[in-house]
C-alpha cells in the first residue's frame, strides 16, 4: 500500500491520523446511519438514530428487494447508462480520431465548437430539450434521455480521446497504411485497442454521469415504468414520507451499485473523473 523511500526521519503522524479520522467520520457516519437505520423500525430510529438496532429487522430491505419497481428502476438505469456510454464513446471516438489524425480546413473551428459545449450548463438547455424531444416524439422514451446525455457527453469525451489519439506516433499509422489498412481499419484495429485506457476512462465518466442524472429523466419520463433509480428514490421518499427507516433501506440498496462499481473500478473512476474535470 505504501512505499517507503529512503529513510526519511520518522515523524509523529498521530495528529495527521486524528484529522483524517475526524474527516473520515464526517464522511462515513451518514452512510452508516443509513445502513443501520434500515434495520430498525421507524419509531426506534427517531429515539436511537445511531446505535445498533435492538433487534435486527430485515423487513425494510427485503420489502424493497421484493418489489418489482426497485428492480425495474435498476434495469432502466442500467439500460440507459450502458447505451449512453456506448453511444457517447463510439461517436466521440470517431470524431476524436478525425480531429487528432486529419489536418483539414475548419478543423479548429469545429473542435472549438465542441469544446465550447463544455461551458453550457446542462440546466440551461433543459426546457428547450423538453420542447425539442416533444416535437421528435421522444418524450417518455428512454432514447430521449440517452441521445441527450450522449450529446452533452461529447465535448469532454472528444477532448480526452483526441488528446490520447494524438499521442500515438505517426509511424504506427504509416506502417498500418503501408500494410494496406484503410483509415477505418487503422482506427478500428489499431487505434482503438491502443487507446483502451483512455476508452475506459471516458466510459466510466459517461456511465457514472448517466447513472446519477436526475433532471433529464425527471422531465422526460412520466410513466412509472420508465423511471430510473434517482426518480424512484425521490418518489419513494414522497410516498413513504412517514417511514424513514424504509427510505433508508431503499437508499442503501440504491447506493450499492454505484459503490460496488467504485470498489471495482476505483482507479479508472478517480482517474477519469479528475482527468475529466481538469480537461474540462
Amino acid at each position: 500500500m505504501m512505499r517507503r523511500k529512503k529513510s526519511t526521519p520518522r515523524r509523529n503522524t498521530l495528529p495527521l491520523h486524528v484529522v483524517a479520522w475526524i474527516v473520515g467520520a464526517f464522511v462515513i457516519v451518514p452512510v452508516i446511519y443509513a445502513v443501520i437505520g434500515g434495520f430498525k423500525p421507524t419509531n426506534e430510529l427517531s429515539q436511537n438514530p445511531l446505535g445498533l438496532p435492538r433487534t435486527w429487522m430485515t423487513a425494510n430491505y427485503t420489502d424493497v428487494l421484493g418489489s418489482h419497481s426497485f428492480w425495474l428502476q435498476l434495469w432502466n438505469s442500467t439500460f440507459i447508462a450502458v447505451l449512453t456510454t456506448v453511444l457517447t464513446v463510439g461517436v466521440s471516438a470517431l470524431a476524436g480520431f478525425v480531429f487528432a489524425r486529419f489536418a483539414f480546413r475548419g478543423r479548429e473551428l469545429f473542435f472549438t465548437l465542441f469544446t465550447a459545449g463544455l461551458m453550457f450548463p446542462f440546466a440551461v438547455a433543459i426546457l428547450p430539450i423538453f420542447v425539442l424531444l416533444r416535437s421528435f416524439g421522444l418524450l417518455g422514451n428512454p432514447f430521449g434521455v440517452i441521445l441527450t446525455q450522449a450529446a452533452f457527453g461529447l465535448p469532454l469525451t472528444i477532448i480526452i480521446l483526441r488528446g490520447f489519439f494524438r499521442s500515438i506516433p505517426g509511424e504506427v499509422e504509416e506502417a498500418a497504411i503501408i500494410d494496406g489498412c484503410s483509415p477505418f481499419g487503422f482506427f478500428w484495429r489499431i487505434l482503438l485497442p491502443m487507446a483502451r485506457p483512455a476508452i475506459a476512462t471516458v466510459s466510466v465518466l459517461a456511465l457514472v454521469g448517466s447513472w446519477n442524472q436526475f433532471m433529464l429523466p425527471l422531465v422526460v419520463f412520466n410513466e412509472e415504468s420508465s423511471w430510473t433509480l434517482p426518480l424512484g428514490i425521490q418518489q419513494f421518499q414522497g410516498q413513504y414520507a412517514s417511514d424513514t427507516a424504509r427510505i433508508l433501506a431503499y437508499l442503501v440498496l440504491a447506493m450499492l451499485p454505484a459503490l460496488g462499481f467504485y470498489a471495482v473500478a476505483e482507479r479508472h473512476l478517480v482517474g477519469g473523473l479528475t482527468a475529466g474535470a481538469t480537461k474540462g
Binding site: 419497481s69 416533444r134 428512454p142 420508465s226 412517514s242
Partner: protein, 428 residues
Amino acid sequence: MKRSLALIATAVLLAGCGSGGDKGGSSAPQQGGSPAKVTLEWWHLSTAEPLKSLWAQRAKEYMAKHPNVTIKATVLENDAYKAKLTTITQSGKAPDIFATWGGGVLKQQIEAGLVKDISADVAGVLPTFTPAALSAYQFDGKTYGLPTDIGMVGFWYNKKLFAKAGITQPPATWSAYLEDVKKLKAAGITPIALAGKEKWPGHYYWAYLAMRIAGLDALKQAATDHDFTKPDFIAAGQQVKALADLQPFQKGFLGAAYSTPDGQSATVSNGKAAMELMGQWAPAVQKDNGKGLGADLGFFPFPAVEGGKGSINDAFGGGGGLAVGADAPAEAVDFVRFMTEMGNHSKAVEAGGVLPVLKGEESAVKDPNLKQVATLLASAGGYQLYLDQAYPPAVGQQVNDSVAELIAGTKTPEEVGKAITEVAKSEG
C-alpha cells in the same frame, strides 16, 4: 399484478424503442366480436388510506367486469402529482383518466386540447350529482369531469388542548380567534401547525381572509381584472401578518412538510399543536401520520371578520374529480362513471375518505366531524375553489408563494398584492 404489468409494458417499450407516442389506449372497441384489449392509464394522488386501497379495489372490480380492460394506476403524492401532471400535459398528452381539482388549471388543459368533453357521455348521470360538487368541472355548459369528492377547508382542532387553554367555545370571529391563539400560547401550547415547505396549506389563510374581508365576488373579479392590490386584499394580507406576528406556528414550520413524521398533520395528530387549517381529508391523514386524536378532534369553520363583506357561511375548498384525456378510449369515460356510481362511491364516503358528491349520499357519512363539514357545505352561501386551482397555474403558484413569504415575514402585504398582480397580468 399492477407491477408486473408495468414490467411487461416497459419491456415492450424498450424492445420497441420508438413506441413512446401513445400508450396503446387509443384502440376503439371493435364492432362485433369480442371487444378489443384496452389499457387505461389512471393517475391519482390518493396515497393515504382509506382511499389508496379503496381506489385499487374499484379498479380491480372494474377489470373483473370488463376483462378486456387493464387499468394501470400511477399514484403520486400531492406535490409530485401536480408537478408530474404539468409535465405530462406540457408534453402534449394527458393520462386517460386523471385526478383534477377543476378550475383554472383544468381550463388551461382544456384549452390546450388535452381533455375530453364528456358532456354527452355523462348527460344521463349528471342530475344525480350535487351542483356544487360538479361546478368545478364545467365550463361554458360543457362537462369535463365528474367529482369524487367535495369538501371545505376549516380548522381541525384539539378539544383537549383548547380546554387546557381555557377556551370553551371555538371562535366565531377573527378577533376572537386571534385572542384564542394568544391564550393557547400563554398556556404553553403551540396554537397552529403549518407546513411551510409546501406552500399550499399557507395560502388557505390568505384565501379565507380575502373571502371574509373582500368577499367572493372580489376574488372572482380579480381573476379577470388581474388586480390584487385592492385595499381589501391588502387588508387580508395584513390580517395574515397579524396572525404570523403572534408566532403561532410550530418550531421549524418553514421547513415542515404536510404529511411527513415531522409534518403539519403529524404535529396535530400527536397533540403537539392545537389546530390546523385543512380540508376534509385532514382526519384521515392525521390517522395515517400519527397517533390520531380520536374523539378530541373537532372542526370549526373559518371565523368571520368583523366588518368584512363575506359571510361565515361562505365556504372555501374543493374536492377532487376525474377527468378524461382527449385521446382516451371510450372505456375511460365508462370507468369514471363506474367510480362515481352511488353503490361504489358511497363506500368511499362510508370509510371517511371522501364527502358526498351524489344527491342522497349524506347518510353514508359516519364520522361526526365529517358530518358537520358536509352539513356546513350543504348550507354554504357561496363557494370558492382553492385559489391555486381556480386561477391559472402561474397565478395560483404565485399566491401560494407570496403568502408563504408573507408568513415568513420576508414580504409585506403590499408587496404580496403587487407580486400576484404582476404574475396575473403576465398571464393576461
